[in-house]
Symmetry: C2
Subunit: 199 residues, 2 copies
DNA sequence: ACAAATAATGACCAAGTGGTCATCAGGGAT
DNA sequence: ATCCCTGATGACCACTTGGTCATTATTTGT
């Protein structure tokens, strides 16, 4: 019976069992956002998430029932797009570019955009659904200020550009797009998005 | 008619052990290309590849030593880009768009482009390396016909556009970009690429 | 002070992974 | 025919995964 769980590693020998469901739940969600963005849905593991949150993987299951549920709870939809879109149409490309870069630059580490790109690779239903919902919402937002029957296509082409840029700069992190400054990126993106939107 | 021509009974009870290393090697490579494109590096499994190739997973290991080796052998670099690039610069965007769409449309199922996008999501060294090599080669090809100090950036922005489009149309397979015909896609892509390249 | 309620744990499970290896069998050379 | 090299197999290994559940420890109500 040497079932000693772990012979007191130097750090914390008497780690008292905390009892605080709300805090734990929040910690798990944060950890999940991080892990899912870092590895994508399929490759992120519940145990790793539990470790980051400082709890056991059993507790994660207790709170969220399944990996898919956790994913759905942790990864939010797109935020603040409406604010960016609102305004005069002429400068829309600049606002979109600036908004995108600002958002990604401050914390690409657990941005849903990155998460969904990484996750969609695995054909996981949950990820595809979230991605679809996100796209639908984007198109709807743009529709409030743009018109024309090919708005959808143009919005989609802009989204494609952003996906590609995100892929290179924030996922693969190599090449010219990853090397340039945020300002330069914004400038290039403004020009390209303008071309897509109004070209 | 009434007598069943039992050339191939539903299940093969006496599956004789074939001995044909070259054919098997080729079959494994084909199966690997397919599987890696379908699931990405991390999520593709050697056993599944073996199954598709009609051999045992032990044989796959025997031929390729490791999953990473198999990946490197199976996923080739970009082909035929030089031919597309060669020609008058004025119509480059159209040729690139048409070449891209033609290639993806005929067999996106095991295109290295899709494979690398799906694989890079998992931060796998082998995938990242292949992707980097592919990008380097692309830039080199374009450099033979274009000049200017921001060629690299423009090429990268075009690549980003193609990645985004590939992501929507051939990976997620949803939305306007997935719904339109190949011809329409080519037209849109021509316009957008032209804007990126010469805008 | 005690007991009921329940948050948290950790042992456990079946399934699946990449990788190893003793063994077997096909077929060319003799 | 026979031998023997080696292509091919499948049992096996250590490990990881998502998920379950009996136990244990901590609050809270009384």
């Amino acid at each position: 019976m040497t079932s000693a769980p772990d012979a007191t590693p130097p750090a914390e020998p008497a780690r008292r069992r905390r009892r605080d469901p709300e805090a734990h739940r929040a910690a798990i969600l944060d950890a999940a956002r991080e892990a899912f963005a870092e590895h994508g849905y399929a490759l992120a593991t519940i145990r790793d998430i539990a470790r980051r949150a400082g709890v056991t993987h059993g507790l994660v299951m207790r709170h969220f029932t399944s990996k898919e549920q956790l994913f759905l709870c942790a990864v939010p939809g797109t935020r603040d797009l409406d604010e960016i879109v609102a305004g005069d149409v002429a400068s829309l490309p600049e606002r979109v570019a600036a908004g995108f870069v600002a958002r990604m630059e401050t914390n690409a580490a657990d941005d849903p955009f990155v998460t969904l790109i990484r996750s969609a690779a695995s054909n996981e239903r949950a990820a595809i659904d979230l991605y679809t919902a996100m796209r639908r919402r984007s198109v709807a937002a743009y529709r409030t200020v743009l018109d024309g029957d090919d708005v959808d296509v143009r919005v989609e082409l802009m989204a494609a550009q952003l996906i590609g840029v995100a892929f290179n700069r924030y996922i693969v992190k190599a090449g010219p797009l990853a090397a340039m400054t945020a300002g330069e990126l914004t400038a290039h993106l403004s020009r390209v998005l303008r071309g897509i939107m109004f070209g």
